[in-house]
């Protein structure tokens, strides 16, 4: 078990190193997510009454669309120079590769969220320090990474690979998007825990279901 963790970490660290050196994914996704925030603010208006209704939605549209872009990059970079084949030649279980890539995707999305969310809160004049929002973000991004890593590996081998990932990914993560928006609203409004508990439970259930299911079927996606 300990060995599996080491192997997962090695694959994860490979992605981190690549990102430190190229800065290909995080910066571009970050700029894109910020743009989504700004465009949606223009589209919906920014009066106080409007903000209450639209703010949670705007945040999650930005994080979801940014997430899709980041997820599609995680396997697209492996496709260049046949790196995916190299990865497959590693003497490790396919599930280890899945968890390694998942950890990488999750970290990229989290890094983006850590920058985007405070900017979002400031732009909408909301309190900046919201630890409960961090919990919602971690749960939702885990679900995104669980489903997205699987579909990203699948989409790179189809012809219309750029559009294939969002088409596959978005309908499946509907429960996460709904729950994340519903759990964010009480946090922004300063309502008690009770209002968000159900939605947190749904996200936890979703995360567990998809982490298990994707671990089991991932090998069928990457086999040659």
């Amino acid at each position: 078990m300990n060995k599996a963790f080491t192997k997962i970490f090695v694959i994860f660290w490979k992605d981190m190193l690549m990102e430190f050196r190229t800065r290909e994914i995080i910066i571009s996704v970050l700029v894109f997510a910020l743009l989504v925030l700004v465009i949606f603010s223009f589209a919906f208006g920014t009066g106080i009454d409007v903000t209450e209704m639209t703010a949670p939605g705007i945040l999650w549209v930005a994080l979801t669309f940014g997430g899709v872009i980041g997820l599609s990059r995680t396997f697209a970079v492996e496709k260049e120079n046949s790196r995916l084949e190299g990865l497959m030649l590693c003497p490790v279980d396919r599930a280890v590769i899945y968890w390694g890539k998942l950890a990488g995707s999750f970290t990229f999305m989290l890094a983006v969220a850590v920058v985007v969310t405070p900017i979002f809160l400031a732009l909408f004049n909301l309190p900046i320090f919201l630890p409960r929002l961090a919990l919602v973000i971690v749960l939702a991004l885990t679900g995104f990474a669980a489903v997205g890593t699987l579909f990203s590996a699948l989409a790179v081998n189809t012809r219309a690979r750029d559009i294939m990932l969002p088409i596959l990914f978005l309908p499946v993560v509907v429960p996460v998007i709904v729950s994340a928006v519903k759990a964010t609203a009480p946090v922004l409004a300063g309502a008690p825990w009770g209002d968000m508990l159900t939605w947190l439970q749904i996200m936890i259930a979703f995360d567990i279901i998809y982490l298990v299911a994707a671990t089991l079927v991932f090998e069928f996606v990457v086999e040659e």
Binding site: P171, V172, V174, F206, I209
Partner: protein, 226 residues
Amino acid sequence: MNGNHALRNGILWGLGFALMIAALYMVFVYVPTEKHTGIIQRIFYFHVPVAWVSFLAFFVTFIGSILYLWKRQEKWDAVACASAEVGVVFTTLVLITGPIWAKPVWGIWWTWDARLTTSLVLWLIYVAYLLVRSLATEPEKGARYGAVIGIVGFIDVPVVFLTVNLWRTQHPTTIIFEGGLTTPMLMTLMVCIAAFTVLYVLLVIRSAGLKTMEAEIRRLRIMKAE
């Protein structure tokens, strides 16, 4: 195709045809018009069976996908894919017949109710399934990817339903189970469900047979090229 298959298909066609005629007769002539909503309620006898078949179809895709990944026999993939195709067509019909009923009764075409939203999300997932299959670089990869989506997509159904149900709900749920239907109505519904189920089985057999033949032709072409 051997004699057994021909006989089975003949029986199914005959049964399907008889049931469909009976269903049409019962829906348009036999069953009384519902008191409150009027003539539009008759669409219910198509809407419910079609919805039932679309869920059945995606369940069969789910099972077929598991069996394909497990046994690696092309027939399971053919069944899974054929069933998904029929399922998408039937879900489209659900999404069309629903609003036609909803507009006069609820006064709106669409509402983000649990059943409606789940059907819509299902439709989107399985359209993606068909897209991946047609855009895969090789048929064998398409079959594997399809199977993965057939499994991962189907386990999403209860989660989507639960989530959207907590979100908001408006669909008439309990009419069928609380005895709100009179005997002629229930009988009509049953005949319609039987008719559409047989239609589904026929379509899947046809489509899966076609896919098996296509695979056979591909194999022969490769053999000839070699």
